[in-house]
Symmetry: C2
């Protein structure tokens, strides 16, 4: 994997560049739609092509449980399995173990958990997580880290980042052992909202020389201003010539603010989950039509349309006249509202296509501005 | 509407022809995917274009309840509302009133029922059903008829066909009053499994001179051989120069047998409903590859794949190598099985696309053979 930093915005720390992977190049900064169980919920790989997704994220925890490693190995990896030819990033499964699994018990060795599906006991180590991602064949793999829910005490997080550093070291060693040149490995900086711990974690993870660095443990219960503050002092600690990934973030505002602080990569369930609840993102007209306006100084550049609202019952205009997705080009708000009100599954797909296209257009606009 | 009969098969009564409608021409015999609530479940109008659907069927009962006439009127009809530019046939709503509604009470005037959604009382008359379909703007409308579940007594059906004839007469009168030249109206022959009643119903409905004729009240509890017998004596009663529609039928075998008996039009929930239950239609290899083999003399020309079966877990071949749908071109059985087993909605759409394409390919093959 190769990262080329092309430009840094003059008035803030926003960066744009190119990330070359074994499955093609990606323009940064970018957003990754989430394909939890080898599909972005309701969408086919053709749909993802149509909205011009550059890369998707899939979840190691879910893939490990189902379809399982045997199937993925015989399929020759996730790209083949789901017929997606562009880049894939996989998370480590850590976040799901700590949030989804019924029971989980963390030790220095790894983390034991009961599957949320059948209660079966599994034990993940940093080594095993690298092995699993090696079978999945993602372009970018993540180290196993401990995800601490906020608020948490200074001492607990201190202990946790020691473990995360140790796991990062073991992950790199396992990767070297497997010798897979087609998969980049990213380290994750933890440390909660404590500056000293973020600094310490960053230093320790930098020392290990990964191909990219992620900031984890945000968007897990802290306030927006706390998150921005952590980014303010953490992003500058990361090397300039490596991609920077803010995990699990966030709203369109969050993304703009994080880009301003020097972040290159994002993923979040919001556009897809909100779509399935009939909450649809639309750019403000002013913003959409004045492409020269600076996104970094724009207040309220979008709104959320609750398509179930009665007022759309006979609204035969498209959701967003500036949007190029099939939902906006072919269907009206009245039709979308009807599909949601009669529980037709097409509603979920059309809404998902639109919301993801909104996020991808947002990233295109951000890249233009930089 | 104009029907041109091009050819009648030499060895049986199978016919092929062309039906010209305000929204384009249709090759007969044909199958209509069912778009109950203004969408074929899980599919967009683009998906229907992709599988080469010539015409779809939508349900007057469901559209009347939701989105309702106000919305459909302001949308300027169903074609606009759902962005479908090809022909649409609407049923009369009669079948749903008799099968879905909580309470229904039939009288000579019409049929009263409680909505299956909110229990609200509605009263449909033959005139009202014509008015509703006029607002929907379908290319082909159906008369309100009484659908009797079989088995039923001779006397009950006799009384019922008298009512159906009376309703057919009133439907034609209402249509003349509305003067909509862009909508054809079909009459429906009832009579259960009683030859004398079918003959009587056919005679009475023929006397009224519709633009096409349907055989109703089959596939409602009788045996296959009873159904074929009814077709044997009923189809020849219908005028040769008008299209013949067998309502709600059926399995691929049923369709082949009915085509042999001179039927031109079909609709059925089987391909879409079975798809959502992971039951996928696949042509036998022998049949698919030998395009010259006569479909009318073929035993077992297809099978049903239960994709949830364990044996497909690592089957990385496509469902049907001869099929041109996106499901077969882009995905494997192992991937489809995975999607069904983790309850991903993409499973339902990919399965629906394939099963409908199977039915449409079946009709293409039938037309070629004739």
């Amino acid at each position: 994997m190769k990262f080329i930093l092309k430009k840094i915005n003059k008035r803030n720390k926003a960066r744009c560049g190119k990330l070359a992977t074994p499955h093609g190049r990606i323009q940064t900064p970018f957003f990754m739609p989430i394909a939890t169980k080898a599909t972005v919920k309701t969408l086919s790989s053709e749909d993802l092509e149509d909205i011009n997704a550059q890369i998707i994220l899939s979840n190691t925890y879910h893939l490990y449980l189902r379809p399982g490693l045997k199937v993925l190995k015989e399929a020759k990896g996730l790209h083949n399995f789901m017929n997606w030819e562009k880049p894939i990033l996989t998370d480590s499964g850590g976040f799901q173990v700590f949030s989804l699994a019924k029971i989980n018990k963390v030790s220095d060795e790894g983390v034991g958990f009961s599957s949320h599906i059948d209660g079966q006991y599994h034990f993940l180590t940093p080594e095993k997580v690298i092995q699993i991602q090696n079978v999945i064949g993602s372009d970018i793999a993540m180290c196993l880290d401990e995800c601490v829910k906020l608020p948490a005490t200074y001492n607990y997080i201190k202990e946790s980042i020691e473990r995360t550093t140790n796991w990062a070291y073991r992950s790199l060693k396992e990767k070297a052992k497997l010798g897979n040149k087609n998969q980049a490995l990213f380290g994750i900086v933890q440390g909660g909202v404590y500056k000293r711990l973020r600094e310490r974690s960053a230093k320790e993870i930098m020392d290990l020389d990964f191909e990219g660095y992620a900031i984890g443990g945000l968007s897990v219960g802290e306030s927006r201003s706390q998150m921005y503050k952590v980014l303010d002092y953490t992003a500058p600690l990361l090397p300039e010539n490596k991609p920077r990934y803010l995990m699990g973030v966030g709203t369109p505002d969050n993304i703009v603010e994080a880009v301003k602080r020097g972040i290159d990569m994002f993923d979040c369930v919001l556009p897809t989950r909100n779509a399935r609840h009939g909450m649809l993102y639309v750019f403000s007209e002013d913003f959409a039509k004045n492409r020269k306006k600076d996104i970094f100084n724009f207040k309220k550049f979008y709104k959320i349309v609750r398509i179930g609202n009665k007022k759309y019952k006979t609204d035969f205009t498209s959701l967003d006249s500036t949007c190029d997705c099939i939902t906006c080009k072919n269907y009206t708000k009245a039709y979308l509202r009807h599909l949601f009100s009669v529980d037709e599954l097409l509603a979920l797909r059309l809404a998902t296509i639109h919301n993801l296209r909104f996020y991808l257009r947002l990233m295109e606009r951000i890249r233009e501005t930089i």
